[in-house]
């Protein structure tokens, strides 16, 4: 069986044409898993960053813990979760969210630290409350650094979603895993290639959209030609 492999095509286009619906369904699942992970990760990171900014001493422990989460290989993390939460979307999301935290928190904190002291002082001096200062001044000014973090987090998450195929989710990773089980046949290699290409395209598309969104949201950062 394996001996004949070399003569066979690597990609079978007819399989792709026949399975457009499958591919789309997998892509959509991939998008949803990614969006939930980055969205939830961002909300948690924002809360933890606010804590770290208000009480500096918590920043060390927060980055220490999220740093360990970031270092633990994803499969190991799923291995810890499966005995508790089973082969579920919840397991997948807990794992995916935990990888976004370090990147997002580091960037949010650094972005807000980067707001010039003079801007902060004059805002407070004019009577901004702490809440409005954060929402109307600090957050918008930190946006470029925060978006840089979201970009890394999103692209990383898109890659990690494929691994959740091993716990029965996976989006495009499901195609890749199914292909891996049929690695000796063109139907298998085709699925691996499709899964890979689609997830790369997804990463590039998301990255470019985030760049575009950032530009649209930070008109002051562009030097306009008069």
């Amino acid at each position: 069986m394996i001996a004949q492999v070399a003569d066979q095509p690597f990609v079978r286009w007819d399989w792709i044409v026949d399975h457009v619906d499958d591919i789309w369904a997998a892509t959509w699942e991939h998008i949803v898993l990614t969006a939930i992970a980055v969205g939830v990760g961002f909300v948690i990171s924002l809360a933890l960053s606010m804590l770290a900014l208000r009480h500096r001493r918590t920043y060390g422990p927060i980055t220490w813990v999220t740093g360990i989460l970031y270092t633990i290989p994803s499969l190991a993390l799923f291995a810890f979760l499966v005995p508790i939460t089973g082969l579920t979307t919840l397991t997948a999301e807990i794992g995916l969210v935990s990888y976004t935290l370090l990147i997002l928190i580091r960037n949010i904190v650094a972005g807000i630290d980067g707001v010039p002291a003079s801007v902060r002082e004059s805002a407070v001096g004019m009577g901004y409350t702490r809440r409005r200062l954060f929402l109307e001044i600090e957050l918008p000014l930190a946006l470029p650094v925060i978006v840089a973090g979201i970009r890394i987090a999103a692209v990383t998450t898109i890659g990690l979603v494929t691994i959740t195929a091993l716990i029965g989710k996976g989006g495009l990773g499901f195609l890749i895993l199914r292909g891996l089980n049929l690695f000796y046949s063109p139907v298998g290699t085709t699925q691996i290639v499709v899964g890979t290409v689609m997830s790369v395209l997804l990463a590039v598309a998301v990255d470019l959209s985030l760049v575009g969104a950032e530009r649209a949201m930070t008109p002051w950062a562009r030097s306009r030609h008069r």
């Binding site: 291995a79 650094v145 973090g149 890659g159 890749i176 691996i192 890979t196």
Partner: protein
Amino acid sequence: MIDFLGDVVAWFLDPAHWLGSGGILGRTWEHVQISAFSTVAAALVALPPAIWMGHRRRGGIVAVAVVNIGRAIPSFAIIALALPISIRLGLGLGFWPTFLALFALALPPMFTNTYTGIAEVDPALVEAARGMGMTESQITTRVEIPVAAPVIVTAIRVSAVQVVATATLAALVAWGGLGRFIIDGFAIQDNVMVFAGGLLVAGLAIATELGFAAFERRFVPSTASRSTSEDLLADVTVAPQHG
């Protein structure tokens, strides 16, 4: 839950799980072996051109593109692609597809971080060295590489940790490694083995990270401190992909 953790402890206490070809020791050795091979091979291939291009300060766009593409390709996909490719090359299952995948994975961050480290050596320093009559290769070996050493070691660490993490997936292409416990455990629905495998893999990854950190503290004098917000913007291009 307590019972479950008790089972995990019991699993670790069973000598049968430690010895033999499928035991913890053997699997750890496989894991470390393939990670080390791939990392060293990637370093041998990536560093010379990165240093050369960094010295000439050309190719920054290539460096950024390489790492971004590297990050966009899922590591799982690289492993999966490596298997049929290896077979078509006549290299078979097991070691070679794993090696190819990990090697491909380690290259981009290694290349880009090294390039950046060399290219960002203070131009005044290079100018001064040239002014003192050093040849280009002397400038590289005596000025740029020593000054960029911390960044280069970081580049290797980032790649190594990522390789150790991704080697977990090697079980999928019929190589061993600690990932076996998790993947086999999933297959036979043995949560105790899955959990124990998770502990082993996490432990090895953290040990790699800490080991490199200790090495850096001990042997690499820091020539630059980082972590301003600009650096984080720059991290868009240099942060590791995750395995």
